[in-house]
């Protein structure tokens, strides 16, 4: 889309670079805002005030933090495996950044309109696991290795219910293209997948509770994939001293941090695109009402960012509410509850679609 448009007058390579950098324009301010937002949400939930000194109510705190991280010494432990140690943060960030290619931010912007968009995102998210394993192994540190192993086990097992829920949607709408999926949920809030999509009649009434359950399952599993509480045993501060990024400092640590927050938005964006109508407004568009059509994509971007940030806020909310699960509990939740339930939903929805 944007690639085709730019390459028509600049050539393929500059177009690819520009189209590839566009999500960065969103991610970096988002990460800066999300770190601030997380600190504020956590503080107010604990009856504190959080950052207050830098800028109005500490609004520039994260910029100050980034400046601090840039100035810090880049420490590499002498016993660490240097090449892997240096690649790991880049790889982790690449994994979470690549996911943004297939996310439709509005009807006018999608990095790459891939037909298997959802599967592509699940696939490149696998790179994150590789990066975390590399970081844990290369740090030559017991805690880091333990954290990396745990995160590998966790992310791999939680991908299964995610994919089953996506399969459920696939059986309903017959497409894995996120752009088409979003377009299917247009025009009305009750066309959103969480309300049973465009299915009509008695089937919709049966579908609504099933879709709510599917939404909860995919939200939980994506939560586990980004290593957030209550599934944060890979980086458990209190038991593993932050797991795989214990040994990292300065900008490499910032890369992990950026990757984590980019990932948080990426999974929220996927859940939004799949279940919450993607970039579509629940109320119709101001641009259409007053006849300014170029306003519509901007409104769509606003709605997409709004829904994504709302889901990220719920992730933060959960983080400051729930305690961490034990490793065995984590596996029990995945293998004994989420997978059978998602499979059951898949079976019922498929039967409904056949009827």
């Amino acid at each position: 889309m944007i690639f085709d448009y730019i390459s028509s007058f600049l050539g393929a390579i500059p177009a690819a670079v520009i189209a590839g950098l566009v999500p960065m324009v969103f991610i970096i301010p988002f990460a800066l805002f999300a770190v601030y937002w997380e600190r504020k949400v956590s503080a107010h939930m604990q009856d504190r005030l959080g950052p207050m000194r830098v800028g109005y109510h500490g609004f520039l705190q994260t910029i100050a933090d980034i400046l601090k991280l840039i100035q810090k010494e880049d420490i590499v432990a002498s016993a660490a495996d240097k090449p892997l140690f240096n690649i790991a943060p880049v790889l982790t960030f690449t994994g979470s950044y690549a996911a943004f290619a297939a996310i439709p931010f509005s009807s006018a912007y999608i990095g790459a309109n891939i037909d298997l968009g959802v599967l592509y995102i699940i696939g490149v998210s696998g790179l994150v696991v590789a990066g975390l394993l590399m970081a844990g192994w290369a740090s030559n540190n017991k805690y880091s290795l333990l954290g990396a192993m745990r995160s590998a086990a966790q992310i791999v097992s939680y991908e299964i219910p995610t994919v089953i829920v996506i399969l459920t949607l696939f059986s309903m709408v017959g497409t894995l293209n996120l752009y088409e999926l979003s377009e299917l949920q247009s025009s009305n809030m009750f066309n959103w997948m969480i309300f049973g999509g465009t299915v009509t009649g008695w089937k919709k009434i049966v579908l609504i509770p099933l879709m709510f359950a599917a939404f909860l399952i995919i939200y939980l599993t994506t939560l586990a994939e980004v290593n957030r509480t209550p599934f944060d045993i890979p980086e458990a501060e209190s038991e593993l001293v932050s797991g795989y990024h214990t040994e990292y400092s300065g900008m490499k640590f910032a890369m992990f941090f950026l990757a984590e927050y980019a990932n948080m938005f990426a999974v929220s964006a996927i859940v939004t695109s799949l279940f919450l109508g993607g970039y579509h407004s629940p109320f119709g568009y101001l641009g259409n009402t007053i006849g300014i059509t170029w306003l519509v994509p901007i409104e769509q971007f606003f709605w997409f960012a709004f829904k994504g940030i709302a889901l990220v806020t719920v992730q933060m909310w959960l983080r400051w509410t729930l305690p961490r699960l034990r490793v065995d509990q984590l596996m029990v939740v995945c293998w004994k509850y989420l997978i059978p339930l998602s499979f059951l939903i898949f079976l019922i929805v498929s039967l409904l679609m056949v009827l």
């Binding site: 949400v41 503080a43 107010h44 939930m45 604990q46 009856d47 504190r48 005030l49 207050m52 909860l216 909310w317 959960l318 400051w320 509410t321 729930l322 509850y337 339930l341």
Partner: protein, 185 residues
Amino acid sequence: MKQYISNIYSALATVFIGMKITFKHLFVPAVTIQYPDVRVTLPGRVRNRLYVNMDDCIGCDQCARACPVDCISIETVKSVPGEDLGKTSNGKKKALWVTKFDIDIAKCCYCQLCVFPCPTECIYMTDVYEFSEFERENLVYSYITLTKDEVLEKKANFEKFEAEKAAQKAAPKPPAPEKPAPPQA
């Protein structure tokens, strides 16, 4: 199976209850304060940094003797006759020049034991608690009102007076043994 379903129910229910509680706390006013901008009002009888009102000090050394950590050190010089040191606010006559009144506040344990013996109530606890320093030496507070020169002058005055007194004593001494001498003679 029943257990399985009740597990799911209780998991979801407890999560939502927890989220409700944390959501309520979002709107509870913060219990912390922005310290350098806002300060808590201290209770009336707080014990913080010591202060000595040297106008009232009579140099009696009772506070230094009461101090359990020996953080007060006082040196005094007697006044010579004719010098008027004034009176304390509760009417005691001052008779000593206080040439050294140092409190090592780094050692002070804020027990307030020095405050009670003071006959003129000139040493007391204030509500100042922000006096951190980069060098420990800076925490030794000197309260004397005399300058260094004045201290030397008072010491010199007293030594001179002592010397004079000794001289006076020494001067009539030669005649003194003479007094019993006549009966012997």
